[in-house]
Symmetry: C2
Subunit: 342 residues, 2 copies
């Protein structure tokens, strides 16, 4: 097992001055060469000497010093989501991240779990990000937005179910998911519709808007329809409880929040002898593979996160021309996928 290469106590990390000394030039020249500064002509031999010295020393510029001097950063701060790892959302962030890098931003996810919103905003502001994309409606207050903009952030953007006043917003309006599901069930002639509301607190941010959208769709419907919220924990016992009193509820359909809850509830209903879809239609959301593997095959709501312009380009534009009115970009597209369970 090899020895860990340790930073010898006396030898400190190489700076551009060290590179300059080794190459026999000034620090200015080092900077010109390593940044390929076009406004100044440096001879080819000098460039080579500088490059070799830098490589030889393992020189890496000091980002903090650079941005201190520059007076600004190209850091886009993405406060790490405490939200459950929804694959859809992961894909969105991964894409955003690589697109931003392509636009020469440095993407930094900063964990702020357990910090108060305003405390978190101050911690973020210390990094002087040029833009902040903040998931979760709770984490950004008007005060926080003020702190960030005063600290030089050109764009403060929320990412969540609701816009926040005074900031730009990528809006993922989860109500649309509930709306889609209920409209689908109504179109199938169902009128007494249960809506599963996960008891897991983490999911409230998604669950409540989905329920609200369901209620709204029922109200907007021509035929009179009833929506019955159904609290449910993600465990078998809770599902069995609900299934046991299912017939007393008198429902002819259920929107199960997502496909995983659908699987949980459908199993419990089937074990109790409730026929799906004959007696009760079931629709989930997220259109996971598992829905296609269930019997009957699970109807679902597909969800896509998409904007006309890529989000990274929107951010870049907001950074370059700050100060406009808050923009709202609606990301979420939902559509019912009818299979055999509804």
């Amino acid at each position: 097992m090899s020895q860990l290469p340790q930073q010898p106590a006396g030898i400190s990390v190489p700076t551009s001055a060290d590179v300059a000394r080794l190459a026999g030039v000034s620090r200015a020249t080092v900077s010109y060469v390593l940044n390929n500064n076009a406004t100044v002509r440096i001879s080819e031999p000098t460039r080579r000497r500088v490059r070799e010295a830098a490589a030889g020393l393992g020189y890496v510029p000091h980002a903090a010093a650079r941005s201190l001097r520059a007076g600004h950063t190209r850091t886009v701060l993405l406060p790490a989501a405490q939200a459950p790892a929804v694959p859809l959302y992961q894909r969105f962030l991964t894409r955003l991240e690589s697109d931003l890098r392509r636009l020469d931003y440095t993407v930094v996810q900063y964990g702020s779990i357990g910090l108060e919103p305003d405390e978190a905003a101050r911690a973020w502001a210390e990094l002087r990000p040029v833009a902040v994309v903040s998931p979760g409606a709770t984490a950004l207050t008007p005060y926080g937005i003020g702190v960030l903009t005063r600290s030089g952030a050109k764009a403060v953007i929320t990412l969540g179910p609701q816009p926040v006043d005074g900031a730009h917003a990528f809006v993922m309006d989860q109500r649309e998911v509930g709306g889609c599901a209920v409209r689908h069930l109504l179109s199938r002639g169902r009128r007494r519709i249960g809506v599963v509301v996960p008891r897991e607190p983490d999911l409230a941010l998604f669950a409540e808007p989905r329920l609200a959208g369901a209620v709204r769709a029922a109200e907007d419907s021509a035929a009179p329809a009833l929506i019955q919220p159904l609290p449910l924990r993600y465990d078998e016992e809770s599902a069995e409880d609900l299934a046991a009193r299912w017939r007393t509820l008198g429902l002819d359909a259920v929107f199960t929040y997502d496909d995983e809850y659908a699987m949980l509830l459908m199993r419990a209903l089937q074990d109790t002898g409730v026929e799906v879809p004959a007696e009760t239609a079931v629709i989930g959301a997220d259109d996971l593979m598992l829905g296609r593997l269930l019997r009957p095959r699970l109807s679902s709501v597909t969800i896509e996160l998409a904007t006309a312009q890529p989000p990274a380009e929107i951010i870049d534009r907001l950074v370059r021309s700050p100060g406009g009115a808050p923009e709202r970009h609606y990301l979420l597209r939902a559509a019912a996928v009818a299979r055999d369970s509804s």
Copy 2:
């Protein structure tokens, strides 16, 4: 819709000098007060004036300037994983993050997707992190480790299936998962065991060690046993193909990589008329809820990530006393859970 609070062009972000001016004190005093420096006595009225001035201006210290002066950061860099969002792993990171914050580190996830390993290491080094915890075995080369330590990182730690020479390691040895599964199947008297190998390239990092562990367990067994790798894409067509030629394979058991692949394959087998577990035993991994909802209930391998000492404390210790021999911390505990499918 309110106007976005914009940074007026002329007014720049407040510095400690602005606070000093407003409070009628020196910058030194501002620093003393805001950092609660105990080595120096400042009168209470002065403290209050400084605090009020800072609050009034919305002053937030500049992290880059501070760490430039200090000569070091308390940044722990977590290069964002390109790995698939395994819930187990998410929980590990979330925990690590909040524990590190409690130890007063700033946790930064830096997206490096699409960068070459050495290029990525240089980009990380620019931030002068005091520690780097790098997921994915590929992303850290000896050169990269050198760049990071020379740039002042006190601890460079890999997080993945294999240690990397010259760095500390949190080892998640996925072979143990395959080993557990196969030993379980052997104990059930099965001898001709298929092992699903997902074709998704992202999963190779996990899939290959799981297969290797399965092979190893079969070799170590007293009874002669056969391991048959079974490439499978995560879609129904691929599963149907495999199921269609199942009987020609002559297998009496299958370890399906994880519970989701188990569900996919079990459905295809059942649709083809293969009896589970009578004709073929099935075991998955991850012990997801969905396994309990399948019929027959799915046997699985539970996986836990745990160390005697919390990982955050290990990192803290390595940072405080750097230079020891590379440490290996084995995180993964696996155990078979027998249900009805095996």
